[in-house]
Assembly symmetry: C2
Homo-oligomer: 347 residues x 2
Amino acid sequence: MGKVTIIDVARLSGVSKGTVDRVLHNREGVSAKSREKILKVIGELGYEPNVYASLLASRKSRSIAVLLPDSSPGEFWSLYASGIEKAGAAAEPLNISLERVGYNQYELDSFRNACSKVLEMAPAGVVIAPLFKAETSLFTAKLREKGIPYVFIDTKIEDDGYLVYYGMPMYKSGYLCADILSVVRPCEEILVVRIERDKFRQSDPTASRRAGFLDYIEERLPECVVHNVFIDPKDPKGIESRLREFFAEHPAVRHIATFNSRIHLITGFLEKNGMQGLRVVGFDNLPANLDALRKDTVNVLITQHPDEQAASAIRDLVDHVVFKKTPPRRDNFMHMDILTRYNVEYY
Amino acid sequence: MGKVTIIDVARLSGVSKGTVDRVLHNREGVSAKSREKILKVIGELGYEPNVYASLLASRKSRSIAVLLPDSSPGEFWSLYASGIEKAGAAAEPLNISLERVGYNQYELDSFRNACSKVLEMAPAGVVIAPLFKAETSLFTAKLREKGIPYVFIDTKIEDDGYLVYYGMPMYKSGYLCADILSVVRPCEEILVVRIERDKFRQSDPTASRRAGFLDYIEERLPECVVHNVFIDPKDPKGIESRLREFFAEHPAVRHIATFNSRIHLITGFLEKNGMQGLRVVGFDNLPANLDALRKDTVNVLITQHPDEQAASAIRDLVDHVVFKKTPPRRDNFMHMDILTRYNVEYY
DNA sequence: GTGAAAGCGCTAACAT
DNA sequence: ATGTTAGCGCTTTCAC
C-alpha cells in the first residue's frame, strides 16, 4: 500500500520533512550524506509521493505547448483537435493547461516564429508535429538545453531527446493500401492520384507510403501498371479535366488510390460520371472522406486515429511532468484502421 | 477557474464549512433552510469540489466489483483482462480497488453465486457482462435498490438502470463480415463453421451477428449458398473429420467464416491439407487467431477491442463514483476493427 | 442542527 | 545545510 509518507522517510533518515522534500525535488541545499541516506530509505520503504497531496500544497500551474500546423475544419490537421481537447480536459485538474501554437505548414518562417513563441512561454513540456526537419532539430536542441521535455506526433525526428513518439507506420500503410486495393481482381492497372505541390516539397510526407505501395505491387503483382495523375487541390476544374483526360486514355482502369488525405477531391468526378464498380482506396478520416465512404464512392479508408495519437502523446507528457513517469514505450506506431461503409458508423 | 472553495460557499451562506460539507454529501442534520441557501450559493458561485483535496482528507477506500466469466489465457474473456488491469491501475490513486468475481458462463448457479458474493461485498459500483439475461435483471434490481451503480460490457440488458454500456454492434458485425468475405469473387458458396453447443444455449450470443450476415447475403448475393458445419471445440479429431467430409462433398467452396472467436480451430485443417487461396474471415483477436492471420491462413479478423470496452466502462464508473460525472453517452457501440496480416502488427 | 478544530500528505517560506 | 511552520481544500470527530 502507498501508506508510506514523507514523514516516515524523514524519521528513518533522521532528518525533517523539509529535507526529504528537497531531495525529492532535486533542490539544492542538502548534504551529500543526507541525500544519500534519504534516497536509501526511500528505496527501502518503497515510498511513493502522494501526487494529489502534492498538487494540493503547491498550486502552481504549468503549461504544455502544442505546436501543430494551422488548419481549417475538415482538413487533416484538424483531426487531432478532439484528442488534444480531451487530453487538455484530463490535464486541467492537474493544474496543467494546454497552449496551442499554430504555424503554416508551407512556410518555414512561420514555423520558426512559432518555435520562438514556445521558447518564450517556457512551458513544462512541448508537443510537436515536426514538418520541418532541420528546423525542428534546432528547436529541440534548445528544449533539451532548458530541460523541457518534448514529444513527437505524426512524424518523428531521430534524436535521442524526445520523450515519446506516436505516429503511423508510413511504409506499411502503403503496403496495406496496395493489398486492400488489389484484393478485387482482376487488377491490371491502377490509378494513383497525387498532389502537384507535393512533388516540390522539401520532404513529401507520403513518400514512404508510396514506396510501400509500389513495393507491394512489384512483389505481388508485377504485371500491374501504376499510372500517376497530378492534381491541384485548389483547382476543381483542373482536377476534372485531368481525370477526364486520363480515363479517356485508360478506360480499363478500375482501381484508384491516393496516398494523402485528399481522396474526396476525386469523388465528385466519379459520381458525376456514374463510374461504378471501381475499387477506390484512400487515407484519413476527413469528414469529406467519411461521406464518400458512406456513399460507397470510396470503398476503403485507412486511418490512424489522429485524435488518439494526440491524446496518448499528451497523456504521456503530462504523466512525465506531473508524476515523473517514463512512458511504457518510446516509439509508438498506431494501429492502422480499415474503414468501410459497414464499420464507419461507430468510428 | 475552479478557485471557489468550500469556505467561500460557507461564508456566503452564513454557515460553516461543516454544514456545507454535509449538504455536499447529502448527509443528514441540516435544516431545510440552510440546505436551500447553500445549494443556491453553490449554483451562483459555480462551486466545484476539489476532488483531490477531498480524496486526501477522507482516505476511505472503495471497491468496484467486476463480474465476468472465468476464462483461460487465450480465450475470449481473457481479452478483457488488460483493459481491466489498466483501468484498475488508473483507479488506484483514487483509492478504488477492482475486485474480480468470476463465474462459469455455462452454469447459471455459478452466476447466481457470483452475484450474491458481489452483493455481500457492497461495492461502490459493479461491472457486468450479462450472459444470463433473466438472472442479471434480478441482480441489477437489487443493485438499484441499494443504490449501487452498474455498467454493462459486451452485452446489455434493457433496463433503465445501467449507467453505461460498451459493446459491439452484433448485427452490423455480421453484415460487415459478409461484405469482407464476399469482396473476393466469385463467391457462390460459403462455409460457415459453427459451434455445436451454441445450438442449445439459452441464448446464442452470436445469433444476431449471424442474422446480419445472412441478410447481407440475401440482399447482395442471393445466388450464394451458405453451408453450415457444426464442430465441438474440444474434439479436434471430430473437427478434422467433419471438415474433410464437407470439402469432399463441396470442393468448390472457397469462402469460410465463423461468427464466434474460434476461427483458429479450423486453420490446422486448412494448413495440413495445403488449402490456399481461400477467403477466410473470423472474429476476435485471440492470440491463436492473430497467429493464423500472420500466417495468412486467416485473411481477415473483425475485432472490437475488448480491452478498451472494459477500460472505458470502468473509467466511466469510477468517474461517476468519485467525481459524480455522468458518462457522455450511455450506449456505446465500439468501432469494429478490421485486421489483416498487414495491419495486425501494431494492434 | 451547527460550529470548531484537528488532521490528510505535501510544499514553501522563513528561521536557524 | 536543515528544521519549523503555516497552509492547500476538504473530511470528520466532538462539542454545544
